[in-house]
Symmetry: C2
Subunit: 266 residues, 2 copies
Amino acid sequence: MSFDSPCATPAANARPQPIRIHHGFEDSMRFGEMCAVRCSTCALRRVCVPEGLSDEDARRFDDVPRVRRAVRRGETLFRAGDRFEHIYAVRAGSFKTVVMHPDGREQVTGYLLAGELLGLGGIAAGHHVAEAVALEDSQVCAIGFPGLEAVAGQVPVMQRQLHRLFAAAIVRDQSQLLRLGTMRGEARLASFLLDISARLAALGYSPRSFLLRMTREEIGSYLGLQLETVSRMFSRLQARSILTVRQREVTLVDTLSLGEMANSAA
Amino acid sequence: MSFDSPCATPAANARPQPIRIHHGFEDSMRFGEMCAVRCSTCALRRVCVPEGLSDEDARRFDDVPRVRRAVRRGETLFRAGDRFEHIYAVRAGSFKTVVMHPDGREQVTGYLLAGELLGLGGIAAGHHVAEAVALEDSQVCAIGFPGLEAVAGQVPVMQRQLHRLFAAAIVRDQSQLLRLGTMRGEARLASFLLDISARLAALGYSPRSFLLRMTREEIGSYLGLQLETVSRMFSRLQARSILTVRQREVTLVDTLSLGEMANSAA
DNA sequence: CGCCCACTTGAACACCCTCAAAGGCTGTGG
DNA sequence: CCACAGCCTTTGAGGGTGTTCAAGTGGGCG
Protein backbone atom coordinates (compact mmCIF):
# COMPACT_ATOMS: atom_id res chain seq x y z
CA MET A 1 0.00 0.00 0.00
CA SER A 2 2.99 2.32 -0.35
CA PHE A 3 3.24 4.63 -3.33
CA ASP A 4 6.46 3.44 -4.82
CA SER A 5 5.44 3.28 -8.45
CA PRO A 6 8.04 4.93 -10.69
CA CYS A 7 5.18 6.97 -12.08
CA ALA A 8 4.12 8.37 -8.75
CA THR A 9 6.41 11.39 -8.71
CA PRO A 10 4.52 14.66 -8.66
CA ALA A 11 5.99 15.89 -11.92
CA ALA A 12 5.29 12.80 -14.01
CA ASN A 13 2.24 12.65 -16.21
CA ALA A 14 0.08 9.70 -17.18
CA ARG A 15 1.17 7.71 -20.20
CA PRO A 16 -2.10 6.14 -21.34
CA GLN A 17 -2.23 2.43 -21.97
CA PRO A 18 -5.17 1.16 -24.00
CA ILE A 19 -7.07 -0.64 -21.27
CA ARG A 20 -10.75 0.21 -21.23
CA ILE A 21 -12.30 1.44 -18.06
CA HIS A 22 -16.07 1.51 -18.03
CA HIS A 23 -17.93 4.75 -17.64
CA GLY A 24 -16.22 6.29 -20.63
CA PHE A 25 -13.25 8.17 -19.31
CA GLU A 26 -11.18 9.34 -22.18
CA ASP A 27 -7.87 8.43 -20.60
CA SER A 28 -6.89 5.09 -19.14
CA MET A 29 -4.02 3.49 -17.31
CA ARG A 30 -2.54 0.18 -16.31
CA PHE A 31 -3.89 -1.51 -13.22
CA GLY A 32 -1.77 -1.01 -10.19
CA GLU A 33 -0.17 1.97 -11.88
CA MET A 34 -0.24 5.24 -10.04
CA CYS A 35 0.29 8.57 -11.65
CA ALA A 36 0.30 12.15 -10.53
CA VAL A 37 -2.71 13.97 -11.85
CA ARG A 38 -4.15 17.43 -11.85
CA CYS A 39 -7.74 18.23 -11.01
CA SER A 40 -7.92 21.08 -13.45
CA THR A 41 -8.18 18.60 -16.29
CA CYS A 42 -10.37 16.05 -14.53
CA ALA A 43 -13.78 15.18 -15.86
CA LEU A 44 -15.13 15.10 -12.34
CA ARG A 45 -13.95 18.57 -11.51
CA ARG A 46 -17.40 19.98 -11.03
CA VAL A 47 -18.19 17.26 -8.47
CA CYS A 48 -14.97 17.34 -6.44
CA VAL A 49 -13.76 20.89 -6.79
CA PRO A 50 -15.75 23.91 -5.75
CA GLU A 51 -17.01 26.36 -8.34
CA GLY A 52 -15.32 29.64 -8.91
CA LEU A 53 -11.79 28.95 -7.74
CA SER A 54 -9.46 31.75 -8.66
CA ASP A 55 -6.61 30.77 -10.96
CA GLU A 56 -4.20 31.07 -8.11
CA ASP A 57 -6.31 28.91 -5.81
CA ALA A 58 -6.74 26.32 -8.54
CA ARG A 59 -2.99 26.17 -8.95
CA ARG A 60 -2.51 25.78 -5.25
CA PHE A 61 -5.02 22.99 -5.20
CA ASP A 62 -3.24 21.23 -8.02
CA ASP A 63 -0.11 21.24 -5.85
CA VAL A 64 -1.66 18.92 -3.31
CA PRO A 65 0.16 15.59 -3.62
CA ARG A 66 -2.28 13.36 -5.34
CA VAL A 67 -1.97 10.26 -7.47
CA ARG A 68 -4.41 8.43 -9.59
CA ARG A 69 -4.64 4.73 -9.09
CA ALA A 70 -6.40 1.97 -10.95
CA VAL A 71 -8.02 -0.73 -8.86
CA ARG A 72 -9.17 -3.95 -10.38
CA ARG A 73 -12.55 -5.42 -9.53
CA GLY A 74 -12.45 -7.23 -6.20
CA GLU A 75 -9.24 -5.55 -5.04
CA THR A 76 -9.27 -3.67 -1.77
CA LEU A 77 -8.24 -0.06 -1.65
CA PHE A 78 -7.68 -0.09 2.08
CA ARG A 79 -8.48 -2.43 4.95
CA ALA A 80 -9.69 -1.94 8.48
CA GLY A 81 -6.67 -1.16 10.60
CA ASP A 82 -4.61 0.37 7.77
CA ARG A 83 -2.98 3.60 8.78
CA PHE A 84 -4.96 6.58 7.61
CA GLU A 85 -2.92 8.63 5.18
CA HIS A 86 -5.06 9.39 2.18
CA ILE A 87 -8.62 9.96 1.30
CA TYR A 88 -9.79 8.65 -2.03
CA ALA A 89 -12.03 10.24 -4.58
CA VAL A 90 -13.72 7.75 -6.85
CA ARG A 91 -12.83 8.79 -10.37
CA ALA A 92 -14.39 5.96 -12.30
CA GLY A 93 -16.19 2.81 -11.32
CA SER A 94 -17.65 2.02 -7.93
CA PHE A 95 -16.75 0.71 -4.49
CA LYS A 96 -18.34 -0.84 -1.47
CA THR A 97 -17.25 -0.22 2.09
CA VAL A 98 -17.46 -3.13 4.49
CA VAL A 99 -17.32 -3.18 8.27
CA MET A 100 -16.30 -6.42 9.94
CA HIS A 101 -18.02 -7.77 12.99
CA PRO A 102 -15.94 -9.34 15.75
CA ASP A 103 -17.44 -12.73 14.92
CA GLY A 104 -16.56 -12.52 11.25
CA ARG A 105 -19.84 -11.37 9.77
CA GLU A 106 -19.60 -8.51 7.33
CA GLN A 107 -21.83 -5.52 6.84
CA VAL A 108 -21.75 -3.46 3.67
CA THR A 109 -22.07 0.11 4.89
CA GLY A 110 -21.62 2.04 1.70
CA TYR A 111 -21.95 1.96 -2.06
CA LEU A 112 -19.81 4.67 -3.61
CA LEU A 113 -19.99 6.04 -7.14
CA ALA A 114 -17.80 8.40 -9.11
CA GLY A 115 -17.22 11.77 -7.46
CA GLU A 116 -17.74 10.45 -3.95
CA LEU A 117 -15.14 10.34 -1.20
CA LEU A 118 -13.85 7.21 0.52
CA GLY A 119 -12.06 6.72 3.80
CA LEU A 120 -13.09 9.84 5.70
CA GLY A 121 -13.94 7.85 8.82
CA GLY A 122 -10.28 6.94 9.22
CA ILE A 123 -9.38 10.40 10.47
CA ALA A 124 -11.07 9.76 13.79
CA ALA A 125 -8.70 7.13 15.08
CA GLY A 126 -5.81 7.51 12.66
CA HIS A 127 -6.58 4.22 11.00
CA HIS A 128 -9.35 2.95 8.80
CA VAL A 129 -12.29 1.22 10.43
CA ALA A 130 -13.82 -0.11 7.24
CA GLU A 131 -12.55 -1.86 4.16
CA ALA A 132 -13.07 -0.51 0.65
CA VAL A 133 -13.41 -2.94 -2.25
CA ALA A 134 -13.74 -2.11 -5.95
CA LEU A 135 -16.97 -3.47 -7.42
CA GLU A 136 -15.67 -3.13 -10.96
CA ASP A 137 -12.43 -2.04 -12.56
CA SER A 138 -12.12 1.46 -11.15
CA GLN A 139 -9.93 4.48 -10.70
CA VAL A 140 -9.42 6.65 -7.65
CA CYS A 141 -7.54 9.79 -6.80
CA ALA A 142 -5.52 9.16 -3.67
CA ILE A 143 -5.10 12.48 -1.92
CA GLY A 144 -2.59 12.86 0.87
CA PHE A 145 -4.69 14.12 3.75
CA PRO A 146 -2.05 16.29 5.46
CA GLY A 147 -1.42 18.09 2.19
CA LEU A 148 -5.10 18.54 1.62
CA GLU A 149 -5.56 19.99 5.07
CA ALA A 150 -2.70 22.40 4.45
CA VAL A 151 -4.27 23.72 1.27
CA ALA A 152 -7.71 23.83 2.86
CA GLY A 153 -6.20 26.01 5.57
CA GLN A 154 -5.04 28.49 2.98
CA VAL A 155 -7.95 28.43 0.57
CA PRO A 156 -11.26 28.92 2.37
CA VAL A 157 -13.34 27.78 -0.54
CA MET A 158 -11.41 24.50 -0.60
CA GLN A 159 -11.93 24.09 3.10
CA ARG A 160 -15.61 24.66 2.72
CA GLN A 161 -15.77 22.07 -0.03
CA LEU A 162 -13.92 19.54 2.10
CA HIS A 163 -16.38 20.08 4.91
CA ARG A 164 -19.28 19.76 2.54
CA LEU A 165 -17.99 16.40 1.39
CA PHE A 166 -17.59 15.30 5.00
CA ALA A 167 -21.14 16.34 5.67
CA ALA A 168 -22.37 14.59 2.55
CA ALA A 169 -20.97 11.35 3.94
CA ILE A 170 -22.86 11.92 7.17
CA VAL A 171 -26.08 12.65 5.32
CA ARG A 172 -25.65 9.52 3.21
CA ASP A 173 -25.22 7.45 6.35
CA GLN A 174 -28.25 9.04 7.94
CA SER A 175 -30.49 8.26 5.03
CA GLN A 176 -29.23 4.70 5.15
CA LEU A 177 -30.10 4.60 8.84
CA LEU A 178 -33.58 5.74 7.92
CA ARG A 179 -33.83 2.89 5.47
CA LEU A 180 -32.69 0.24 7.91
CA GLY A 181 -34.61 1.59 10.84
CA THR A 182 -38.07 2.32 9.50
CA MET A 183 -38.61 0.47 6.26
CA ARG A 184 -39.84 -2.94 5.26
CA GLY A 185 -37.66 -5.01 2.98
CA GLU A 186 -39.57 -4.01 -0.11
CA ALA A 187 -39.41 -0.32 0.70
CA ARG A 188 -35.69 -0.58 1.42
CA LEU A 189 -35.02 -2.02 -2.00
CA ALA A 190 -37.23 0.55 -3.71
CA SER A 191 -35.53 3.38 -1.88
CA PHE A 192 -32.11 1.96 -2.65
CA LEU A 193 -32.84 1.73 -6.36
CA LEU A 194 -34.20 5.27 -6.49
CA ASP A 195 -31.13 6.52 -4.66
CA ILE A 196 -28.79 4.89 -7.15
CA SER A 197 -30.91 6.14 -10.00
CA ALA A 198 -30.66 9.72 -8.75
CA ARG A 199 -26.93 9.52 -8.17
CA LEU A 200 -26.32 8.09 -11.63
CA ALA A 201 -28.49 10.79 -13.13
CA ALA A 202 -26.37 13.41 -11.38
CA LEU A 203 -23.35 11.91 -13.12
CA GLY A 204 -25.03 12.06 -16.49
CA TYR A 205 -25.99 8.41 -16.79
CA SER A 206 -29.41 7.00 -17.44
CA PRO A 207 -31.54 7.05 -14.31
CA ARG A 208 -33.85 4.47 -15.85
CA SER A 209 -31.57 1.61 -16.76
CA PHE A 210 -28.37 0.65 -15.03
CA LEU A 211 -26.11 -2.18 -14.02
CA LEU A 212 -25.97 -3.05 -10.34
CA ARG A 213 -22.40 -3.72 -9.37
CA MET A 214 -23.18 -5.66 -6.21
CA THR A 215 -24.28 -9.27 -5.86
CA ARG A 216 -27.60 -10.10 -4.22
CA GLU A 217 -25.64 -10.95 -1.11
CA GLU A 218 -23.92 -7.56 -1.02
CA ILE A 219 -27.17 -5.72 -1.66
CA GLY A 220 -28.74 -7.78 1.10
CA SER A 221 -25.98 -6.94 3.51
CA TYR A 222 -26.29 -3.27 2.64
CA LEU A 223 -30.04 -3.33 3.16
CA GLY A 224 -30.07 -5.59 6.20
CA LEU A 225 -31.71 -8.46 4.35
CA GLN A 226 -30.78 -11.96 3.26
CA LEU A 227 -29.78 -12.53 -0.33
CA GLU A 228 -32.82 -14.76 -0.92
CA THR A 229 -35.09 -11.98 0.27
CA VAL A 230 -33.49 -9.52 -2.12
CA SER A 231 -33.94 -11.94 -4.97
CA ARG A 232 -37.59 -12.49 -4.07
CA MET A 233 -38.25 -8.76 -3.88
CA PHE A 234 -36.75 -8.24 -7.32
CA SER A 235 -38.93 -11.00 -8.71
CA ARG A 236 -42.00 -9.56 -7.05
CA LEU A 237 -41.36 -6.06 -8.38
CA GLN A 238 -40.87 -7.48 -11.83
CA ALA A 239 -44.10 -9.46 -11.58
CA ARG A 240 -45.87 -6.21 -10.76
CA SER A 241 -44.28 -4.54 -13.80
CA ILE A 242 -42.55 -1.97 -11.66
CA LEU A 243 -39.16 -2.86 -13.08
CA THR A 244 -37.37 -5.47 -15.12
CA VAL A 245 -34.34 -7.38 -13.91
CA ARG A 246 -32.00 -9.63 -15.74
CA GLN A 247 -29.14 -10.60 -13.49
CA ARG A 248 -27.66 -7.26 -12.45
CA GLU A 249 -29.23 -5.19 -15.16
CA VAL A 250 -32.14 -3.21 -13.81
CA THR A 251 -34.59 -1.08 -15.73
CA LEU A 252 -37.01 1.02 -13.76
CA VAL A 253 -40.40 1.05 -15.42
CA ASP A 254 -42.85 2.53 -12.94
CA THR A 255 -40.83 5.04 -10.97
CA LEU A 256 -43.97 6.48 -9.39
CA SER A 257 -44.97 3.20 -7.77
CA LEU A 258 -41.40 2.72 -6.69
CA GLY A 259 -41.44 6.10 -4.99
CA GLU A 260 -44.71 5.32 -3.26
CA MET A 261 -43.29 2.09 -1.96
CA ALA A 262 -40.21 3.86 -0.63
CA ASN A 263 -42.33 6.43 1.16
CA SER A 264 -45.27 4.35 2.30
CA ALA A 265 -45.82 3.45 5.90
CA ALA A 266 -46.74 -0.18 5.24
CA MET B 1 -33.40 30.87 16.51
CA SER B 2 -31.51 34.16 16.37
CA PHE B 3 -29.07 35.05 19.10
CA ASP B 4 -30.63 38.22 20.37
CA SER B 5 -30.35 37.63 24.08
CA PRO B 6 -28.96 40.70 25.86
CA CYS B 7 -26.38 38.37 27.32
CA ALA B 8 -25.14 37.13 23.99
CA THR B 9 -22.57 39.83 23.36
CA PRO B 10 -19.05 38.49 23.21
CA ALA B 11 -17.85 40.50 26.19
CA ALA B 12 -20.64 39.61 28.60
CA ASN B 13 -20.19 36.86 31.12
CA ALA B 14 -22.69 34.47 32.63
CA ARG B 15 -24.65 35.67 35.63
CA PRO B 16 -25.52 32.37 37.30
CA GLN B 17 -29.06 31.72 38.32
CA PRO B 18 -29.57 28.84 40.76
CA ILE B 19 -31.22 26.37 38.45
CA ARG B 20 -29.77 22.90 38.70
CA ILE B 21 -28.59 21.15 35.59
CA HIS B 22 -27.97 17.46 35.93
CA HIS B 23 -24.55 16.02 35.37
CA GLY B 24 -22.99 18.26 37.97
CA PHE B 25 -21.70 21.29 36.18
CA GLU B 26 -20.61 23.87 38.64
CA ASP B 27 -22.12 26.79 36.83
CA SER B 28 -25.68 27.11 35.66
CA MET B 29 -27.89 29.49 33.73
CA ARG B 30 -31.47 30.32 32.98
CA PHE B 31 -33.23 28.38 30.25
CA GLY B 32 -33.35 30.16 26.97
CA GLU B 33 -30.50 32.34 28.09
CA MET B 34 -27.45 32.49 25.91
CA CYS B 35 -24.09 33.69 27.06
CA ALA B 36 -20.73 34.09 25.51
CA VAL B 37 -18.31 31.56 26.93
CA ARG B 38 -14.69 30.61 26.65
CA CYS B 39 -13.45 27.11 26.12
CA SER B 40 -10.36 27.63 28.20
CA THR B 41 -12.46 27.36 31.35
CA CYS B 42 -14.82 24.64 30.15
CA ALA B 43 -15.02 21.34 31.95
CA LEU B 44 -15.24 19.55 28.62
CA ARG B 45 -12.10 21.09 27.25
CA ARG B 46 -10.23 17.83 27.00
CA VAL B 47 -13.03 16.38 24.87
CA CYS B 48 -13.65 19.29 22.51
CA VAL B 49 -10.33 21.05 22.30
CA PRO B 50 -7.13 19.41 21.11
CA GLU B 51 -4.28 18.85 23.51
CA GLY B 52 -1.24 21.08 23.47
CA LEU B 53 -2.60 24.28 22.05
CA SER B 54 -0.11 27.09 22.35
CA ASP B 55 -1.28 30.03 24.42
CA GLU B 56 -1.66 32.08 21.32
CA ASP B 57 -3.71 29.42 19.54
CA ALA B 58 -5.87 28.96 22.60
CA ARG B 59 -6.55 32.68 22.60
CA ARG B 60 -7.44 32.61 18.95
CA PHE B 61 -9.79 29.74 19.52
CA ASP B 62 -11.49 31.60 22.31
CA ASP B 63 -12.17 34.40 19.85
CA VAL B 64 -14.49 32.21 17.78
CA PRO B 65 -18.00 33.55 18.29
CA ARG B 66 -19.65 31.08 20.56
CA VAL B 67 -22.50 31.20 22.99
CA ARG B 68 -23.71 28.81 25.57
CA ARG B 69 -27.36 28.01 25.52
CA ALA B 70 -29.62 26.12 27.89
CA VAL B 71 -32.23 23.89 26.32
CA ARG B 72 -35.09 22.50 28.33
CA ARG B 73 -36.11 18.89 28.02
CA GLY B 74 -38.22 18.32 24.94
CA GLU B 75 -37.17 21.54 23.25
CA THR B 76 -35.66 21.38 19.81
CA LEU B 77 -32.27 22.89 19.15
CA PHE B 78 -32.76 22.96 15.40
CA ARG B 79 -35.23 21.53 12.94
CA ALA B 80 -34.93 19.97 9.52
CA GLY B 81 -34.83 22.78 7.01
CA ASP B 82 -33.37 25.35 9.41
CA ARG B 83 -30.55 27.29 7.84
CA PHE B 84 -27.20 25.89 8.86
CA GLU B 85 -25.25 28.48 10.80
CA HIS B 86 -23.87 26.84 13.91
CA ILE B 87 -22.68 23.54 15.07
CA TYR B 88 -23.44 22.61 18.63
CA ALA B 89 -21.28 20.93 21.21
CA VAL B 90 -23.24 19.21 23.95
CA ARG B 91 -22.00 20.66 27.21
CA ALA B 92 -24.36 18.99 29.62
CA GLY B 93 -27.29 16.67 29.21
CA SER B 94 -28.19 14.69 26.12
CA PHE B 95 -29.95 14.98 22.79
CA LYS B 96 -31.52 12.82 20.17
CA THR B 97 -31.42 13.54 16.46
CA VAL B 98 -34.50 12.65 14.47
CA VAL B 99 -34.97 12.32 10.75
CA MET B 100 -38.48 12.66 9.40
CA HIS B 101 -39.86 10.42 6.73
CA PRO B 102 -42.01 11.95 3.98
CA ASP B 103 -45.04 10.11 5.36
CA GLY B 104 -44.58 11.45 8.87
CA ARG B 105 -42.83 8.56 10.56
CA GLU B 106 -39.78 9.46 12.56
CA GLN B 107 -36.45 7.73 12.92
CA VAL B 108 -34.10 8.48 15.79
CA THR B 109 -30.66 8.50 14.18
CA GLY B 110 -28.52 9.61 17.06
CA TYR B 111 -28.17 9.72 20.81
CA LEU B 112 -25.67 12.40 21.79
CA LEU B 113 -23.93 12.86 25.12
CA ALA B 114 -21.74 15.58 26.54
CA GLY B 115 -18.71 16.39 24.43
CA GLU B 116 -20.27 15.27 21.18
CA LEU B 117 -21.05 17.48 18.20
CA LEU B 118 -24.49 18.11 16.75
CA GLY B 119 -25.57 19.39 13.38
CA LEU B 120 -22.55 18.58 11.24
CA GLY B 121 -24.69 17.07 8.50
CA GLY B 122 -26.17 20.50 7.82
CA ILE B 123 -23.06 21.72 6.06
CA ALA B 124 -23.76 19.55 3.06
CA ALA B 125 -26.84 21.36 1.84
CA GLY B 126 -26.64 24.56 3.88
CA HIS B 127 -29.62 23.56 5.98
CA HIS B 128 -30.21 20.92 8.61
CA VAL B 129 -31.62 17.60 7.52
CA ALA B 130 -32.37 16.31 10.99
CA GLU B 131 -33.97 17.69 14.11
CA ALA B 132 -32.21 17.79 17.47
CA VAL B 133 -34.26 17.48 20.66
CA ALA B 134 -33.03 17.72 24.23
CA LEU B 135 -33.74 14.54 26.19
CA GLU B 136 -33.23 16.30 29.51
CA ASP B 137 -32.47 19.84 30.58
CA SER B 138 -29.23 20.46 28.75
CA GLN B 139 -26.64 22.96 27.71
CA VAL B 140 -24.91 23.39 24.39
CA CYS B 141 -22.18 25.57 22.99
CA ALA B 142 -23.43 27.07 19.75
CA ILE B 143 -20.40 27.74 17.59
CA GLY B 144 -20.71 29.88 14.51
CA PHE B 145 -19.45 27.69 11.76
CA PRO B 146 -17.91 30.36 9.51
CA GLY B 147 -15.89 31.63 12.45
CA LEU B 148 -14.82 28.15 13.36
CA GLU B 149 -13.69 27.50 9.82
CA ALA B 150 -11.70 30.70 9.85
CA VAL B 151 -9.84 29.73 12.99
CA ALA B 152 -9.37 26.19 11.76
CA GLY B 153 -7.73 27.61 8.66
CA GLN B 154 -5.22 29.46 10.79
CA VAL B 155 -4.57 26.88 13.49
CA PRO B 156 -3.77 23.48 12.00
CA VAL B 157 -4.26 21.65 15.25
CA MET B 158 -7.78 23.06 15.50
CA GLN B 159 -8.47 22.06 11.94
CA ARG B 160 -7.30 18.56 12.63
CA GLN B 161 -9.53 18.36 15.68
CA LEU B 162 -12.54 19.55 13.70
CA HIS B 163 -11.91 16.87 11.12
CA ARG B 164 -11.52 14.28 13.81
CA LEU B 165 -14.90 15.20 15.21
CA PHE B 166 -16.42 15.00 11.75
CA ALA B 167 -14.91 11.58 11.33
CA ALA B 168 -16.13 10.49 14.75
CA ALA B 169 -19.68 11.25 13.65
CA ILE B 170 -19.16 9.09 10.58
CA VAL B 171 -17.76 6.25 12.66
CA ARG B 172 -20.69 6.49 15.08
CA ASP B 173 -23.12 6.25 12.20
CA GLN B 174 -21.26 3.29 10.76
CA SER B 175 -21.40 1.34 13.96
CA GLN B 176 -25.10 2.08 14.13
CA LEU B 177 -25.44 0.77 10.60
CA LEU B 178 -23.70 -2.39 11.73
CA ARG B 179 -26.23 -2.74 14.51
CA LEU B 180 -29.26 -2.27 12.31
CA GLY B 181 -27.92 -4.32 9.45
CA THR B 182 -26.57 -7.46 11.05
CA MET B 183 -27.96 -7.85 14.56
CA ARG B 184 -31.06 -9.39 16.06
CA GLY B 185 -33.16 -7.28 18.32
CA GLU B 186 -31.60 -8.64 21.45
CA ALA B 187 -28.07 -8.07 20.21
CA ARG B 188 -28.97 -4.54 19.15
CA LEU B 189 -30.15 -3.67 22.60
CA ALA B 190 -27.11 -5.28 24.24
CA SER B 191 -24.75 -3.44 21.92
CA PHE B 192 -26.61 -0.18 22.48
CA LEU B 193 -26.37 -0.48 26.25
CA LEU B 194 -22.66 -1.31 26.11
CA ASP B 195 -22.08 1.65 23.83
CA ILE B 196 -23.77 4.03 26.23
CA SER B 197 -21.95 2.47 29.14
CA ALA B 198 -18.59 3.06 27.45
CA ARG B 199 -19.40 6.62 26.49
CA LEU B 200 -20.57 7.45 30.01
CA ALA B 201 -17.44 5.88 31.43
CA ALA B 202 -15.35 8.11 29.16
CA LEU B 203 -17.11 11.09 30.72
CA GLY B 204 -16.38 9.87 34.23
CA TYR B 205 -19.80 8.45 35.03
CA SER B 206 -20.59 4.99 36.22
CA PRO B 207 -20.53 2.51 33.36
CA ARG B 208 -22.57 0.08 35.41
CA SER B 209 -25.65 2.03 36.39
CA PHE B 210 -27.25 4.84 34.46
CA LEU B 211 -30.47 6.55 33.55
CA LEU B 212 -31.72 6.12 30.01
CA ARG B 213 -32.99 9.43 28.73
CA MET B 214 -35.09 8.00 25.94
CA THR B 215 -38.50 6.37 26.13
CA ARG B 216 -39.00 2.80 24.97
CA GLU B 217 -40.44 4.23 21.80
CA GLU B 218 -37.37 6.36 21.12
CA ILE B 219 -35.01 3.50 21.87
CA GLY B 220 -37.07 1.32 19.57
CA SER B 221 -36.89 3.88 16.80
CA TYR B 222 -33.14 4.18 17.26
CA LEU B 223 -32.70 0.41 17.14
CA GLY B 224 -35.20 -0.28 14.40
CA LEU B 225 -37.62 -2.07 16.74
CA GLN B 226 -41.11 -1.49 18.11
CA LEU B 227 -41.47 -0.17 21.62
CA GLU B 228 -43.13 -3.41 22.75
CA THR B 229 -40.16 -5.39 21.51
CA VAL B 230 -37.76 -3.18 23.42
CA SER B 231 -39.81 -3.64 26.56
CA ARG B 232 -39.87 -7.41 26.12
CA MET B 233 -36.12 -7.53 25.58
CA PHE B 234 -35.50 -5.58 28.76
CA SER B 235 -37.76 -7.94 30.66
CA ARG B 236 -36.03 -10.95 29.20
CA LEU B 237 -32.56 -9.68 30.04
CA GLN B 238 -33.70 -8.97 33.55
CA ALA B 239 -35.20 -12.46 33.87
CA ARG B 240 -31.80 -13.84 32.89
CA SER B 241 -30.11 -11.68 35.53
CA ILE B 242 -28.04 -9.88 32.94
CA LEU B 243 -29.29 -6.51 34.09
CA THR B 244 -31.92 -4.85 36.23
CA VAL B 245 -34.37 -2.29 34.91
CA ARG B 246 -36.76 -0.08 36.73
CA GLN B 247 -38.35 2.31 34.30
CA ARG B 248 -35.42 4.11 32.77
CA GLU B 249 -32.86 3.19 35.35
CA VAL B 250 -30.61 0.44 34.10
CA THR B 251 -27.95 -1.46 36.02
CA LEU B 252 -25.71 -3.79 34.09
CA VAL B 253 -25.02 -6.92 36.09
CA ASP B 254 -23.45 -9.42 33.74
CA THR B 255 -21.47 -7.33 31.29
CA LEU B 256 -19.74 -10.40 29.90
CA SER B 257 -22.96 -12.03 28.79
CA LEU B 258 -24.08 -8.71 27.39
CA GLY B 259 -20.90 -8.51 25.35
CA GLU B 260 -21.36 -12.04 24.06
CA MET B 261 -24.88 -11.23 22.99
CA ALA B 262 -23.73 -8.14 21.15
CA ASN B 263 -21.06 -10.09 19.29
CA SER B 264 -22.78 -13.40 18.72
CA ALA B 265 -24.00 -14.43 15.33
CA ALA B 266 -27.35 -15.78 16.50
C1' DC C 1 -57.10 12.21 43.70
C1' DG C 2 -57.39 11.43 39.00
C1' DC C 3 -55.60 11.93 34.54
C1' DC C 4 -52.21 11.02 31.16
C1' DC C 5 -48.44 8.95 29.49
C1' DA C 6 -45.06 5.39 29.67
C1' DC C 7 -44.48 0.79 30.27
C1' DT C 8 -45.65 -4.23 30.46
C1' DT C 9 -47.67 -8.43 28.91
C1' DG C 10 -50.49 -11.52 25.95
C1' DA C 11 -52.10 -13.56 21.52
C1' DA C 12 -52.33 -13.88 16.57
C1' DC C 13 -50.20 -12.91 12.51
C1' DA C 14 -46.83 -11.19 8.98
C1' DC C 15 -42.47 -10.78 7.42
C1' DC C 16 -38.25 -12.41 6.82
C1' DC C 17 -34.83 -16.03 7.75
C1' DT C 18 -33.08 -20.66 7.27
C1' DC C 19 -32.46 -24.73 4.83
C1' DA C 20 -32.67 -26.98 0.52
C1' DA C 21 -32.50 -27.80 -4.36
C1' DA C 22 -32.02 -26.60 -9.00
C1' DG C 23 -30.91 -23.60 -12.98
C1' DG C 24 -27.91 -20.02 -15.17
C1' DC C 25 -23.85 -17.32 -16.02
C1' DT C 26 -18.78 -16.76 -16.26
C1' DG C 27 -14.31 -17.86 -16.68
C1' DT C 28 -10.82 -21.30 -17.07
C1' DG C 29 -8.44 -25.10 -18.94
C1' DG C 30 -8.27 -28.83 -21.86
C1' DC D 1 -14.65 -24.63 -28.96
C1' DC D 2 -16.48 -27.22 -25.56
C1' DA D 3 -16.73 -28.97 -20.93
C1' DC D 4 -16.60 -28.19 -16.44
C1' DA D 5 -16.33 -25.95 -12.04
C1' DG D 6 -17.68 -22.45 -9.16
C1' DC D 7 -20.41 -18.89 -7.99
C1' DC D 8 -24.59 -16.26 -8.43
C1' DT D 9 -29.38 -16.44 -8.66
C1' DT D 10 -34.01 -18.17 -8.28
C1' DT D 11 -37.72 -20.56 -6.07
C1' DG D 12 -39.97 -23.47 -2.54
C1' DA D 13 -41.25 -24.94 2.20
C1' DG D 14 -41.19 -24.36 7.06
C1' DG D 15 -40.11 -22.00 11.25
C1' DG D 16 -38.62 -18.08 14.12
C1' DT D 17 -38.46 -13.28 15.27
C1' DG D 18 -40.65 -9.18 15.65
C1' DT D 19 -45.04 -6.65 14.65
C1' DT D 20 -49.69 -5.50 15.42
C1' DC D 21 -53.61 -5.10 18.16
C1' DA D 22 -55.39 -5.14 22.62
C1' DA D 23 -55.75 -4.84 27.51
C1' DG D 24 -54.04 -3.71 31.81
C1' DT D 25 -50.54 -1.71 35.21
C1' DG D 26 -47.79 1.83 37.20
C1' DG D 27 -45.70 6.45 37.92
C1' DG D 28 -45.60 11.38 37.71
C1' DC D 29 -47.81 15.73 37.88
C1' DG D 30 -51.38 18.99 38.06
